[in-house]
Symmetry: C2
């Protein structure tokens, strides 16, 4: 018997395609897995866990004076905020005091990780940016110009990219980093998100599965988007009316895995919404994921490569990137679960040695640095997995599962993960 | 009067946003422009130009023996091609002659630009890849393995990425360039396109506007895709049923310009289909563009940056990239017109000096190299524009038009271009 088993494994190594799929026998009927997923979704529904559903805010923690966050504001509020700011400046000039902007500091010294919120936020330090000062006159002028351009966007109610903004006054801005930086300053000054300013990032994410939503007035049914899926809109403020009968959201790092799941219409076997930013998370995808999570109250399960960058990508979705920490509340999706590929999966699923890659020195350093990050430390399961990765010095891509057959991901790995509720 | 004009221009430089848009007064009513566009579309309709509509083939030029191209084959034909290939190999082995693959050469020495086709094709050189030879045994084994994997894809009728393919046998392939290279060989051996092999590239393009098509069985109406648009499917063989009342296809290099046109629903003012690969053209977008052009018989107008890379991108859509020249017939879209931004537009539209960028040494070299390319030389208008670019040493992005206002592109520049039929 043991011999037989061994022989089969050897055959399977030699030609996994034509052999029975490893661990497939462990799979229970779909109805059993679905039952468990329904129970999971119920845990996330607002009625059963009303306390957990209402997210903590800075003021709940008595931090609203000490910390600063921006909020989504309607266009009319942005417009009047700019107008009253300019009115104040005019008064200041007329009273002979000249003018200056008070700009919140976005430096790392002014950043704070708040464990209760599981986000990075800004502390309350700000600095004055006076016009009548040789060292700040240029930046003050740029700030005034950006405010004026944003005001025009409000009047016209259109969206532009950062690059468009830069090109409206190249003579003044000189290079795009200057207009970009001041744009973030203006967000902080007005206390609103960058998307509220109608300045958008190019989109690169796609979504498919059990979701209906409106994009700029058009109703989109993501079960009818073929294999290509729906491109995630760059402007979240025109996204609305989300409806779904999904039981969870599957966040996928790479497009190859996304394509596999879209072609196999995985969302029809296990009702879910599949979303990917095709690598590094962009702002549009992060906003879209958060909006789904908040409106639909669904668990978010992440499928990323088993390497430090997979975990880093998970962290950007989960608790934000450092250079946009002032906007962390609107950009981050709390409580994302690490489904896979986890370092412990490599042995658990017998990923063949040749599909595991040795970690480079830089990989190992990145992994060790991550172990020092608050968002990892607060999750003992993640620490354990990351320690295992750094110890074994092995990484693996999601595609490594293809060594058991092209559809192993959708036919065995994911269903088994869901059945066993195997996430951290 | 002259003074007044001058004053206005100065004001416009100082604050283009609040001023009348330059050249807007030249615009005729939309109905006049539409009339001209309808006439243009009629020129492209198959009935009025049946000779031009039927594209030339290698055999029309008596080159089918001397040159090689691959064609789209249905999955069943790919499957039987593999089976008869393997049958021949088996006969060869059984008759004691061992076995070898005859592999068409894809080196640049074996490539030929055919002006009548306006494409790069492969000449007829091929080489033997025998199993019983130390220098080729590995590559022969890889070739056999890839053939076997493709055969499995045929049986299952699923699509995978190159990365998936690599991971099915890392031990043999060692690194992905090896499986990728042999995959291209297998295309040439079987005489079919890579998409016929069901091996697909990750998609990154989006499409919006007056197009209805089916993606994997789902009907997609691209006028109802909001601002985000529809992600172009990675597998062209599941795309079909294209219908459109558009008068032209607008091919856009960058997503910022795409977003502007999508938000302004430019396609409702001038019926068109707007498509972008967000930078470098990917295979899926190239296949999609070609399919639209062939099925809908519409003119394709390209909006790219005014720099050597803009023209290079245009050339990849138009006549192919060198490393996939064996597949040029299926990947290229003939007769793409260069709408803008052209070097001569910089002065014609008074693009402010500060929005023009100096070309680097490398830019200038790339520009000069392009002047030697056949696909540029055959179009005297392009040569003239490119000469102007290299002479003035100035380049400009599409976004440079934003200096006249965020919507200058959609409200003045493009309508005026269409009105004046200003393309090359």
């Amino acid at each position: 018997m043991a011999d037989k088993k061994k022989r089969r494994r050897t055959e399977s190594d030699a030609d996994p395609e034509s052999d029975p799929l490893p661990f497939k026998s462990k799979l229970k009927p779909d109805s059993v897995i679905l039952q468990s997923l329904k129970a999971l979704a119920a845990e996330y529904a607002p009625s059963t866990s009303s306390s957990a559903a209402k997210p903590l805010t800075l003021s709940d923690l008595f931090l609203s004076d000490a910390c600063r966050e921006v909020t989504d504001l309607p266009l009319s509020s942005v417009q009047s905020a700019i107008e009253s700011l300019v009115l104040n400046l005019t008064h200041s000039i007329l009273s002979g005091q000249g003018f200056s902007f008070s700009v919140p500091s976005r430096s790392s010294a002014n950043q704070l990780y708040v464990p209760e919120l599981d986000r990075i936020v800004l502390k309350d330090k700000s600095s004055l940016r006076p016009y009548a000062n040789v060292s700040t006159v240029r930046k003050t002028t740029i700030t005034a110009r950006i405010l004026q351009l944003i005001h025009q966007l409000c009047l016209k109610n259109i969206h532009v990219t950062k690059r468009d903004l830069f090109y409206t006054d190249v003579k003044l801005f000189q290079d795009q980093t200057q207009s970009d930086t001041v744009l973030d300053d203006v967000s902080c000054i007005l206390g609103c998100t960058r998307s509220s300013l109608n300045v958008i990032a190019a989109e690169k994410g796609v979504v498919v599965g059990r979701l209906i939503f409106s994009d700029n007035g058009d109703m989109i049914d993501c079960t009818k988007m073929g294999m290509g899926g729906k491109a995630i809109p760059p402007n979240i403020d025109r996204v609305g009316d989300m409806q779904s009968d999904a039981l969870f959201i599957l966040l996928v790092e790479k497009d190859a895995a996304y394509i596999r799941l879209a072609e196999d219409r995985f969302y029809n076997r296990f009702p879910c919404i599949i979303v990917t930013a095709k690598g590094q998370p962009d702002v549009a995808t992060r906003l879209f994921l958060r909006k789904m999570k908040m409106e639909l109250n669904l668990p978010v399960l992440a499928l990323v490569d088993s390497d430090p960058y997979g975990l880093k990508i998970l962290s950007v979705y989960g608790c934000g990137s450092k250079n946009m920490s002032y906007d962390s509340a609107n950009l981050t999706t709390p409580d994302i679960k690490w489904l896979g590929i986890r370092p412990s999966d490599l042995d658990k699923y017998n990923i063949p040695e040749q599909c595991r890659l040795p970690m480079t020195e830089l990989d190992i350093k990145t992994g060790k640095d991550l172990l020092e990050e608050d968002f990892v430390k607060k999750n003992p399961g993640w620490v354990e997995e990351l320690n295992l990765m750094v110890k074994t010095k092995q990484k693996a891509e999601i595609q490594a599962l293809s060594s058991f057959g092209f559809q192993y991901l959708s036919e065995v790995y994911l269903p088994l993960k869901l059945q066993q509720r195997d996430w951290l």
